[in-house]
Amino acid sequence: MEYAPAKFHKSARKLAPAGETFTYSPENQRRFDEIVTRYPPDQRKSAILYALYLAQNQNGGHLTAAAMDHVAEQIRCTSAEVEDVVSYYTMFFTKPVGKYVLNVCRTLSCALLGAERVTEELCAKLGIKPGETDASGTFTLLEVECLGACDRAPVVMVNDDWHERLSPEQAGKFIDDIRAGGAAAFTGCHLHKEKK
C-alpha cells in the first residue's frame, strides 16, 4: 500500500554490507546442529552467540547481511533480532577487520597506567585512528572497557587472546613482534595460566 506520494529520505544508519550468499560450511553446520541440542528446544535462540561466531569466523572476521539472514534461519528468529544481538556485542563486526583485532582496555586501572598512551602509540605505529584498520589489512584497533585483568594493566586483547602489561614504550615493538611471530607475541592471560 502506498499512502504518501512524496518520497521521504532514507536513514543514514551504517548498515552491514549485503554480502555474497551465505550458508554454513558442512563442518560449521555440523557444529551448530550439535550446539543447539544443548538448549531446550523452545530456547533455541540461546545458541545465537555461538551461531554468530561460527558465521563470523567462516566469513573471514565480519558478518554480512546474508550471514545474519542465514543465522536467523538457523535460529528460527527474524533477521532484525539477529542484528539486535550483533550490534549489541562489541566482538561482532559488520565491516571487514584486520587479521588481528587489538582491543585496548580503557577502563580505570588500565587508564591510570597509561592505556590512553598505549592507544596513541599504536595509532602512530599503524597510521590509523581507533576504530580503523591499517592499510595492509592486518590490524584493527579498538578501545574497549575492562577486560578483567586489571592487576596486569594495561591490557590489550588480541582476537581471543590477552596481552598484559603493555606499556606505551613497548607498543611499537609489540606490533613488530606480532608481524614477525603472530600469536607467539602475546603474553596470554595470567589468570588462565594460573588456573591450569
Partner: protein
C-alpha cells in the same frame, strides 16, 4: 474473583489478584506515569518512570512490574519518589529534541504531559544532544510504506519492538547498538511491512513513529470531536474512533481525519488493521456520488430525486410486467442490516414469500498476508455484514468462511436474456462488491434494459448505469452490522453526507413506496424498531434500543475510550467522575445514561 487489598497514597485499593501496582493505581484513578507499560503487550520494566515507594522494600520499585500483595503499602507522592522520578524524567529528556511544535504527537504526547507533571523544571544538560540522521524534521526517515521514524524523539521504551514480536509475531523491529547509541531499526533499513503497522503509531508514546497518512495533517486541538464507531471494511468489525477535524470557519462542517482503534475485548482488543485505518479517503473523495443521476442522450445527468425515482419505478415496472423474475438485485454485504431488512420487506411485498430469491449477495474475499501466528488476524471476507444477511434469510452460501459468491447463475440468466433489470446496492468502496464488468457489458449490448446503482462512489458499474442513487457511507449513517462472531454492532454517524445523498434504507423505502408498497419508514430508527419487532428472541430484538454514539469533545473521548491514553484523563481531568476498569463502554459508565454501543454477546445467548 480473588482480590487483594493494598494501600496507595493512604487509600485502600482492592484489585484482582495478580494485578500490578501500576494497574491498581490506574484503576483507582491515581496518576502514576508510565511509558514502557502498555496494557496490550508484555511488561518490560525498562523506562523506570513508574517507580514508587513500597514499604519494607529496600529501594524504589517499578510499579508496572511489581505484583500487588495483601497489605502492601505504596506511596507515589513522597519526597523520595518525587525526586527520583524527576531524575528519570531528566534523563529521558537529555537527548530528546523537544521539537514539539513540529511533532505530530504534540498535544497528545505522554512525554509532554508527564514531563510537565512529574519532571524537573529544567535540565542540567549542557552538552549537544545526540542526533541520528540529521537534525530537526530531517531526522524523519522511511519506516516502511506506511510509517515514518524519527529516532531523535525515541525514548526506547521498546513498545514497538514488543508489539511486532508479540502481536504481529514477525519481529521486524529491533534495538540496534547499545547504550546511548541505541536506536530503533529494522534489518537493513527495510522498514516495517505489516498490515498492523498503524498500531505502532498508537503504541509509541512519543512522536518517534508517525503514520504517513496523518503526518502534518492536523493537530490534536484541531480535532475537537471524536465519534466511537465500528469499522466495516471486513467481517471482523473492529471498534474504532473516527476523528473529525474542524474545517476553517468559512468552510463549515468537519472532515474525517483519521481512524484509531478503540478497546473492545470481544473483538479487536487494542488494535486495528491498516486497511481499516487508512482506507477511508474514498468517502470524501472526488468520486463521491453527490446527486441522483439518470442517463440521457448526453450521458449521465444530475437530477433531483423527484426525477430519478419515477424513472426507476417505470423501468422496473416495465421489466417486471412481462415476468416478475426479470428484476434482480445484487446487494453488497457492505449493506447495513437496516437496508437488508427494508429490501427484504420490499421484495417479499412484491414477489411473495420467496422474494429473497431475487437477491444475490456479493462481496470479495482475500487472504491477508500475515504471519501464521499473528495475535490479531484480519479475516478474509472483505465485507462487514455477511452474517447480518444470513440472519435475515438472504442466501450467503457458506458465509464469511466460504468462498465469495460468483453470481454465475445470475450472470447466465442475464446473458440468456431472462433478466431485464438489475438493481445494485453497493455502499462500500469501489471494487468491494466484486467484479461486475459482465453487468456493464450486458447493459452495453442491450441485454439489460435497466441497470440501477445505489452507492457511494462512482464505480464502473455506476458509470454504466441508467439510474444512479447516492447513498451514505458507513461513517455517515447509524447502522447495524453483524460481525463474523455473530455480534450485532452499531456503526455511528460521524460525518454528514452530501446534501443530496440519502440514507440507504430510506432510498429503498422510497422505492418500495413508489412501487406501491406500504413501507412508510422516515428514519433509520423506525427501521430498527421494526427490525427488533420482527425478530423477537434474537440478537436483533434489541435493535430499536441500540444507542448510537454521537460526536463528543475529544477530551471526554480520552476519558471514555482508549485505555492507553488514560494517563491523560487521570490527571488532566481529575474533576470528572472516575473511570473504572478498562472498557468504560461496556460498563456503561462512559456517558451518563448511554448504553453500550453494541449488543454484547451475552445478550445473544439468552
Amino acid at each position: 474473583m480473588e482480590t487483594v487489598t493494598l494501600t496507595i497514597d493512604g487509600r485502600p485499593v482492592t484489585v484482582e489478584k495478580g494485578r500490578t501496582v501500576l494497574q491498581a493505581a490506574i484503576e483507582a484513578g491515581i496518576s502514576v506515569p508510565y511509558y514502557c507499560y502498555h496494557p496490550g503487550i508484555s511488561i518490560d520494566g525498562s523506562c523506570r518512570v513508574c517507580i514508587v515507594k513500597i514499604e519494607k522494600m529496600p529501594k524504589l520499585q517499578t510499579s508496572c512490574s511489581t505484583v500487588c500483595t495483601e497489605g502492601m503499602v505504596v506511596s507515589t507522592r513522597d519526597a523520595e519518589t518525587v525526586a527520583a522520578r524527576a531524575g528519570v524524567f531528566e534523563f529521558l529528556l537529555v537527548n530528546h529534541p523537544l521539537d514539539c511544535p513540529v511533532c505530530d504527537k504534540g498535544g497528545e504526547c505522554p512525554l509532554q504531559d508527564f514531563s510537565y507533571t512529574f519532571g524537573p523544571a529544567d535540565s542540567r544538560m549542557d552538552f549537544p544532544r545526540r542526533t541520528f540522521d540529521g537534525e530537526g524534521v530531517k531526522a524523519d526517515v522511511d519506516f516502511g510504506p506506511t510509517l515514518m521514524l524519527n529516532r531523535n524523539r525515541c525514548i526506547l521504551c521498546t513498545r514497538c519492538v514488543r508489539f511486532m514480536k508479540e502481536i504481529d509475531t514477525d519481529a521486524q523491529i529491533g534495538v540496534v547498538d547499545r547504550g546511548c547509541g541505541s536506536e530503533i531499526a529494522t534489518f537493513q533499513e527495510h522498514g516495517v511491512h505489516s498490515l498492523l503497522s498503524g498500531n505502532l503509531m498508537d503504541v509509541c508514546p512519543v512522536g518517534a513513529i508517525t503514520t504517513r497518512d496523518y503526518r502534518f495533517k492536523s493537530r490534536p486541538w484541531d480535532n475537537p470531536t471524536v465519534v466511537d464507531t465500528t469499522c466495516t471494511l471486513c467481517s471482523k468489525g473492529c471498534s474504532t474512533s473516527a476523528w473529525l477535524k474542524a474545517k476553517p470557519e468559512w468552510a463549515k462542517g468537519s472532515q474525517l481525519i483519521r481512524m484509531t482503534p478503540r478497546f473492545n475485548p470481544d473483538v479487536n482488543g487494542y488494535w486495528m488493521c491498516d486497511i481499516g485505518r487508512f482506507n477511508y479517503h474514498w468517502i470524501e473523495s472526488e468520486t463521491r456520488l453527490r446527486r441522483p443521476m439518470i442517463r440521457t442522450a448526453a450521458g449521465l445527468e444530475k437530477v433531483g430525486w423527484h426525477d430519478a425515482e419515477p424513472r426507476l419505478r417505470d423501468k422496473i415496472q416495465e421489466a417486471a410486467a412481462a415476468d416478475p423474475d426479470a428484476v434482480r438485485f445484487i446487494v453488497s454485504a457492505h449493506a447495513a442490516t437496516e437496508e437488508l431488512f427494508v429490501l427484504k420487506q420490499m421484495v417479499q411485498g412484491l414477489l411473495g414469500a420467496d422474494g429473497l430469491k431475487s437477491v444475490s449477495m456479493a462481496w470479495t474475499r482475500s487472504e491477508k498476508p500475515q504471519p501464521p501466528n499473528a495475535k490479531f488476524k484480519i479475516p478474509a471476507a472483505n465485507a462487514p455484514n455477511v452474517n447480518g444477511a444470513r440472519d435475515l434469510g438472504f442466501m450467503v452460501g457458506q458465509g464469511n468462511d466460504g468462498p465469495a459468491p460468483d453470481l454465475a447463475e445470475l450472470k447466465a440468466a442475464v446473458e440468456a436474456g431472462r433478466v431485464k433489470a438489475v438493481y445494485v446496492l453497493d455502499p462500500g468502496p469501489d471494487g468491494s462488491i466484486g467484479d461486475l464488468s459482465w453487468l456493464v457489458e450486458a447493459r452495453r449490448t442491450g441485454k439489460l434494459s435497466l441497470l440501477a446503482v445505489q452507492g457511494v462512489v462512482m464505480t464502473p458499474h455506476a458509470a454504466a448505469a441508467d439510474v444512479v442513487l447516492p447513498g451514505y457511507a458507513f461513517v455517515e449513517k447509524d447502522a447495524l452490522f453483524t460481525n463474523d462472531q455473530g455480534q450485532v454492532q452499531s456503526a455511528s454517524l460521524a460525518i454528514v453526507a452530501p446534501a443530496e445523498a440519502r440514507e440507504d434504507c430510506l432510498i429503498l423505502a422510497g422505492l418500495a413506496r413508489a412501487l406501491g408498497l406500504d413501507i412508510a419508514y422516515q428514519t433509520s430508527d423506525e427501521v430498527r424498531r421494526a427490525l427488533g419487532g420482527a425478530m423477537p428472541g434474537t440478537a436483533y430484538a434489541g435493535a430499536g434500543t441500540v444507542v448510537f454514539t454521537r460526536p463528543v469533545p475529544a477530551a471526554s473521548w480520552l476519558q471514555a475510550s482508549n485505555p492507553s491514553e488514560r494517563w491523560k484523563w487521570d490527571f488532566m481531568f481529575q474533576d470528572l467522575p472516575p473511570v473504572k476498569g478498562h472498557n468504560v463502554q461496556l460498563e456503561g459508565l462512559a456517558r451518563e445514561g448511554a448504553g453500550p454501543n453494541y449488543i454484547p454477546l451475552r445478550q445473544v445467548d439468552k
